[in-house]
């Protein structure tokens, strides 16, 4: 019954979405300014305090030549009010229903209900409860349901929390969200039903891929999806703004917290995924330029550019077209990524159970949504008045360069990821991977770091080169000092890691520079956010460069008692013992490790695990995290000549990579908090005035 209840909830949610769309369309249509040319005042119990006073009033290019009679106007207004009042509850109901459907699916997995096909294919009664629950989204249908759940909840959140936007634009936004939702509900209900039953019910399931039986599965997909799908709100805002032509600072101020919120989760999700792959796959890599990884990176790049662009629009009323375009691109990249991962056209470690028919369905949805949004952009953006002017050497100018460089990186990743398909069209099978992406995005990213350092030190609107250079003295000094210190180590390190380390030092100094000379207690929270986030990038860059430059690797066949060196550590294999887990058995190697010859010894126990359902073997790495790096140990296969293979790595400062990522997310959170508090203060002031 639970499965049926879930399915029913899903259908009802789809119906709610349709209703939401109809209501929104009518509000937008009915609320179109007519005759007088000034926007109709929409007061009354809708919860929005006032009409948003755009500093640059948007005039409709087609004013109604014959104004409507007063009676009809009043009737339209009344009808529009009714519809507008209904939209919020409908959106909330949709969110609640789809969340209920997701809950039903999780419940069905928790109970190991083997009459549901998805549970049979992806779960097993012997699994630990955490993986039963997380297994709900460890497959195509379940993760797609999670996708639309976040979409619905995001729409509901906009309906509940958004108070700054005027009614018509808000309705258009919620309507756009509903339009997207309908397509994906249709996909789920028609082509990927998660609640399909199987009869007769088998005794037990096929089990979950052992690589997925890890806490990472509980954390990485939901976090990633909240970001990945949460950026749909930005897309809906952009579409809503294009429909009602309300592109201005008020719109940007309303959109900014949503972009920030989604971006924070996307950053966390990608960072978590990277760390999970690092410790799970057993070879110490943390980014593989795998197509699925690229599919999550591309929205992040667009969202980062968007988040900077929206700030310019909010504070300086500039970069209007850029902001709208980036909002459309960010979620388009999310949707394209969803398609790529599930269609089977790209080879990846990550790929779900794929089906070209489902791929075709999503592709059709993509054509409608992205094509529609881009057409709307081309048609409407020209009528949105240009924003304020600024000189090339200014903070706006630096942000334009920032947008461009991020877009270039996004373009390179997109082209590189899709190129094998294009080549296949000409009958050529080729691979595009790490060497290509490192060589092409590396230099562009390093150039971006320079602008990231200089940007916050530039004044708005116009600045002079001499003033900038003066403010940049300390960051440049940091860069130079790091370069000099690294010269003794420079032999054997590549150019990119060397530059990366030096730039990280310079960037670190540059990111705290905006705080100098300020009263730190009165510095706004969002400035702290910017400082922490940029510092996080510098930290992450330093970690990546250290990993490339200074990792020490030792691959040996270890016999019991033999010492082997890796970095500053000595590793001895003390012995092997069997270990039994909940649904696996393993051989664990006890390694006695000392730092130098006389350090205090500690034990690490990497394992080689064997699962029975499905029959697979995995390696569980054992990692010791120290202040200055990580010691990464993996147990390999028994050697025919006696002894066991051991893979040992000493990775100095590798944790900085993910620490930096967490700092970036923290910076975003501080910014978000700062903006929300500032917004509340402003709304309160406006109410009092």
């Amino acid at each position: 019954m639970i499965a049926e209840a879930g399915l029913a909830a899903l259908w009802l949610a789809a119906a709610m979405a349709a209703l939401q769309l109809l209501l929104a369309a009518n509000v937008v249509r009915l609320g179109r300014p007519s005759g007088s040319g000034s926007p109709l005042p929409f007061r009354g119990g809708v919860g929005v305090g006032e009409v948003s006073p755009s500093p640059s009033p948007v005039v409709s290019p087609h004013p109604n030549p014959s104004p409507e009679p007063k009676a009809a106007l009043g009737q339209r207004e009344g009808l529009s009010q009714q519809f507008a009042r209904a939209i919020r509850p409908v959106a909330i109901a949709q969110g609640a229903l789809v969340a209920l459907a997701m809950l039903c699916l999780i419940l069905v997995f928790a109970r190991s209900d083997m009459s549901v096909r998805l549970v049979v294919e992806n779960s097993h009664s012997a699994k630990p409860m955490l993986y039963k629950l997380a297994g709900a989204w460890g497959n195509h249908e379940g993760s797609m349901l999670l996708w639309v759940t976040i979409l619905g909840l995001a729409g509901a959140a906009v309906a509940v929390f958004e108070r700054r936007l005027d009614q018509r634009t808000l309705s258009a936004t919620i309507g756009a969200q509903a339009l997207i939702a309908i397509g994906f509900y249709a996909f789920l209900l028609i082509a990927s039903n998660p609640f399909a039953r199987v009869f007769p019910a088998p005794a037990d399931g096929n089990g979950l891929n052992p690589l997925l039986q890890d806490p990472g599965l509980a954390f990485h997909p939901p976090t990633l999806y909240i970001g990945y799908v949460g950026i749909s709100v930005a897309f809906s805002f952009a579409v809503g703004a294009l429909v009602t032509r309300e592109v201005g600072p008020a719109f940007a101020r309303a959109m900014r917290p949503w972009v920030l919120g989604a971006w924070i989760f996307l950053t966390l999700g990608i960072t978590a995924g990277s760390y999970w792959a690092y410790y799970e796959l057993g070879w110490g890599g943390w980014w593989f330029w795998d197509p699925v990884e690229n599919a999550s990176l591309m929205p992040w790049l667009a969202a980062t550019a968007l988040l900077h662009s929206v700030s310019v629009l909010a504070t300086r009323d500039g970069l209007r077209a850029w902001t709208i375009m980036l909002a459309v691109v960010a979620f388009s990249m999310s949707m394209i990524g969803t398609f790529l991962v599930r269609s089977g056209i790209l080879t990846s470690v990550h790929a779900f159970a794929v089906d070209p028919e489902r791929g075709a369905f999503i592709l059709a949805l993509l054509a409608i949504y992205i094509g529609g949004a881009l057409a709307l952009f081309a048609l409407r953006v020209g009528t949105v008045r240009q924003g304020n002017v600024f000189a090339p050497l200014s903070r706006e100018g630096a942000l334009v360069v920032n947008n461009l460089l991020l877009s270039v990186i996004l373009g390179i990743v997109l082209i590189g990821t899709l190129y094998p398909i294009a080549a296949a069209a000409f009958g050529v099978q080729l691979s595009v991977g790490k060497p290509f992406f490192d060589k092409t995005t590396g230099p562009v990213a390093l150039a971006l770091m320079v602008f990231m350092g200089a940007g916050p030190l530039l004044r708005w609107r116009r600045d002079t080169a001499s003033a900038l250079l003066k403010r940049m003295t300390w960051p440049v000094a940091g860069f130079g000092a790091a370069l000099i210190m690294l010269v003794p180590f420079a032999w054997g390190i590549g150019v990119l890691p060397l530059l990366g380390l030096a730039l990280a030092a310079g960037l670190a100094v540059a990111s705290v520079a905006p705080l100098w000379g300020r009263n730190l207690r009165r510095t706004p929270l969002f400035t702290w956010g910017m400082v922490v986030a940029h510092l996080g990038i510098a930290v992450s860059l330093a970690g990546m460069a250290c990993d490339s430059a200074f990792t020490k690797e030792t691959l040996v066949v270890a016999k019991i008692g033999e010492p082997h060196a890796v970095g500053p550590y000595w590793v001895r294999l003390k012995g092997l013992r069997p270990v039994i887990g909940p649904n696996w058995s393993a051989i664990a190697a006890d390694l006695s490790i000392t730092r130098g010859q006389d350090g205090a010894p500690f034990i690490l126990s990497p394992q080689a695990r064997y699962f029975s359902d499905p029959p697979t073997s995995t390696t569980e790495s054992a990692i010791a995290t120290k202040l200055d790096g990580q010691l990464y140990t993996v147990l390999g296969k028994p050697d025919p000549g006696g002894g066991y293979q051991l893979r040992l790595w000493w990775k100095p400062f590798v944790t900085f990579i993910w620490l930096g990522g967490a700092m970036v997310a923290l910076g975003g959170a501080l910014s978000l908090l700062g903006r929300i508090r500032r917004g509340r203060v402003r709304v309160a002031e406006e109410h009092e005035a």
């Binding site: 461009l404 373009g411 000409f426 991977g433 290509f436 296969k637 050697d639 025919p640």
Partner: protein
């Protein structure tokens, strides 16, 4: 979803166990494992005892042992990261646990130890498997748009930036 793949290139199980080839597309190559929990500990202990006796007496392959010369080892490592594993296909041979990936690592190390340049070894592998096997697409008639793309994008970006500044100055 699991299904039997026609073409199996699998890790061989230890001699006292049957390896069953279940090779789903979305999983890495499985290793045959003990089926019943009850016999597991014994199975492992037996396997451990087998290790104590030198059953095969062959030399250790270079699949998981480093070369003595650090410069050559670095070259080999760098090359391995750019060769695709033909079995799992989603990873490089430097990151894969598959048997044939190990054989390729051993082959790469041996050839570099013998004095061949990494470029030569890569060319040798491409000769046998085609361009698909290298993650670093060689410059050719098919790939020049790919390598040119970053430059084109940068130029396009600069043009947009310039036009946006120029517009500003007029507007």
């Amino acid at each position: 979803m699991m299904f039997l793949r026609r073409h199996a290139g699998l890790v061989p199980a230890s001699t006292d166990q049957q390896a069953i080839a279940l090779e789903p597309l979305d999983r890495r190559s499985p290793h045959g494992g003990p089926r019943h929990k009850a016999g597991v500990t014994w199975g492992i202990l037996i396997a451990l005892m087998l290790i104590a006796s030198p059953a095969f007496g062959q030399q250790t392959s270079l699949a998981d042992v480093q070369l003595r010369d650090p410069a050559k080892e670095a070259q080999a490592r760098a090359l391995m990261a750019t060769i695709r594993c033909v079995e799992c296909q989603g990873q490089s041979v430097g990151d894969s646990d598959a048997a044939i990936a190990g054989s390729m690592r051993a082959l790469i190390r041996e050839r570099i130890q013998a004095g061949e340049t990494p470029g030569h070894v890569r060319a040798w592998l491409i000769e046998r498997y085609g361009d698909y096997i290298t993650y670093d697409p060689p410059m050719s008639a098919v790939t020049w748009p790919l390598w040119l793309a970053p430059v084109v994008l940068l130029i396009a970006g600069a043009a947009i930036a310039r036009s946006s500044f120029r517009k500003r100055r007029q507007g």
